[in-house]
Amino acid sequence: MRRRDRAIRRRLRELPVPDHAPGFWAGVERGLEQADQDESLGDLSTVVPLERSNSYAGFAPWMAAVAGAAVVLAFGAITALVFRSGGGDELATSETVVVTPGVPATMAGSTTTTSVRVADVIAPSPWSDAALSRSDVPPALLLAWDEAENKEWCSALAPEALGEVAADAEVRRARFDGGWGVAWDLPDGPGQTAAGEDCPDCGRSAFGVAGTSAVQNPGTGRDQPNTIAWSDGSFAGYGADRTAAESTRRVADVVVAGQGCVYEVWSNLGDAHLVEVLQGLRLVQGMKAAPVELRRPGDAPMVDERGAPPWAGTVIDRAEVSDLVLGQWEELGVDSSLVFQDPGVELEGAELRTWDRGVAWDAAGGEGHDADNRPCADCGRGAVGLGWQPAAPEATEDGVSLPYRITWSDGSYAEYGGRLSHPALPRDRVVYVDPETGAETADALQAIVHVAGMNHDIIVWTHLGEEHLLTLIDRLRMVSSG
């Protein structure tokens, strides 16, 4: 090792390592408990844990009355509600709980702990009401959403009315990396300091709404103790703020039908207020993302189920393969793999070069991306690429992979989608939004090809559209071993 490398290593070892935030280990413990619970319940994918240990004394009598009516009306539509008695693991059917939008199933004064399987949903979502106009929305929200990276797949939601509690509030942007958020600061009352600690009377960030950069998944909000389901498939789970150990803040994870992101709503003013804010949320005219159809591993139907993979049977002689490719394989520890020999289209002045894990074709012009991976309209750099990487671990059940999939009869499959744009985005809307300038550029499509029996995956990308990507995949062939 060079002396300079030893010096760097010493400095690397001296780098400080931050400790966990307070509440980290409590969060882990809750996760372990949830894991135990899931294990004991088996594969009941529709079970919504509903630990109702809160007293909703703050609820207005009219809300209870509305809830009661809803329970009666909805009872016939609820066909298979199963609920678990507090603390036990056995499933029982001796009692029925209806999850009513805006009103927790447990009414004022009672305290029970249950888990419920929701077999039906019973009311339209708040955001299915008429959208607000932009002039009704706090400027901070307009600005936050306009500048958000996720606005292509995460519509703005704004509260229609907040009542007297917000009369003296100041609205400001709240930082959500990759997303947008606004917080209401009250002149006094409970809130949270900038350091994330509860304050009894600072009023800071007393409540707020955010569209986070997280992508919704089937489990979003389902691990929260309280849940609300709506007829359009929207869903909210709410409970204590899991990022802080001793916080009284209540937080809801919200899935809005047709949106890719996870919304977060919070309040330091109690559950009743949280639900009130939630029920008041509306879409905003001119601040809507086109509906997103999320695709995940295991989703059915697959985009394309094919027969034998294109590389079955045909082998390319190693001598015909570029030295640049063979050099990369040697570097990556790959003996042999799949290649396409050329991009299959006319690329003016194209030259092959290497990159970290493969090769790329640079064209003289046209769409491509710069050295920092930002798409460009006419630089031609990296217009087409091919690479190899260790086989990815199996996709996690809650992970979102590239949104489209081709499967072949031998068990091989390819996943593809936007290269830079969010995986929640459909393949015909892959757009890169420059975080600094807001400029939009068409993104490349990228495929990860998992070949049955191979210990590495093949990366294929193109800036020339989906048809070209599929052509490139069809042109993949096995190379004879060295």
């Binding site: 390592v17 966990h20 949830q34 990556l332 970290d356 790329a360 991976n373 671990p393 830079l420």
Partner: protein, 179 residues
């Protein structure tokens, strides 16, 4: 130093108790390796919130996967691998700058030497590709040997060697120390 040196004498007992559902034992097992995993996650993700998110997810996943842990690698290596995968998953979800395969750290425009010397090691490290950061943190910062690092990153030992050489070269350039 390597992962092996992180192994506590009571690790097998903790593992056995954790397998039986003893949360405290599992937490103790995690704590044996938590400091290093924090270092790895923080250098990959760049902030404490994301570090905690990734590690919380990783730890719960590890717990769920305990029944399938067959001891083919050390517990430490296995945990680091899960943590590393959780970081990569999170980065993908966060769509940060470096999860893409075409990272090409070697073609990052050379920094003006006067500017580069002002960059500290932390900044220089954060400018590298995920692969390079991972290998530098594991081998150079945490002292993993090549074999353990290869197991964590799921690549051949030869790849660790070449990746490390490139990563060190990139660090030198970023620190303005030339080749």
């Amino acid at each position: 130093m390597g992962v092996g040196t992180l192994t506590s004498t009571n690790e097998p007992e903790l593992l056995e108790r954790a397998r039986r559902g003893d949360h405290r034992a599992f937490a103790d097992l995690l704590r044996l390796h938590d400091s290093g995993m924090r270092a790895l996650a923080y250098r990959l993700l760049g902030n404490v919130t994301l570090m905690d998110d990734a590690l919380q997810e990783a730890y719960v996943k590890a717990y769920r996967a305990l029944p399938r842990f067959r001891g083919e690698s050390s517990v430490g290596t296995w945990l680091y691998r899960i943590a590393h995968n959780a970081c990569i998953d999170l980065m993908r979800r966060q769509r940060e700058a470096e999860p893409l395969p075409d990272g090409e750290p070697d073609v990052v425009p050379a920094l003006d030497a006067r500017v580069a010397t002002r960059l500290d090691v932390d900044q220089a490290l954060s400018g590298l590709s995920v692969d390079h950061r991972s290998v530098l943190v594991l081998v150079d910062a945490l002292g993993f040997d090549y074999r353990d690092a290869a197991e964590v990153l799921n690549v051949p030992v030869g790849t660790i060697r070449s990746r490390l050489a490139r990563a060190r070269g990139a660090m030198r350039r970023r620190l303005g120390e030339g080749e």
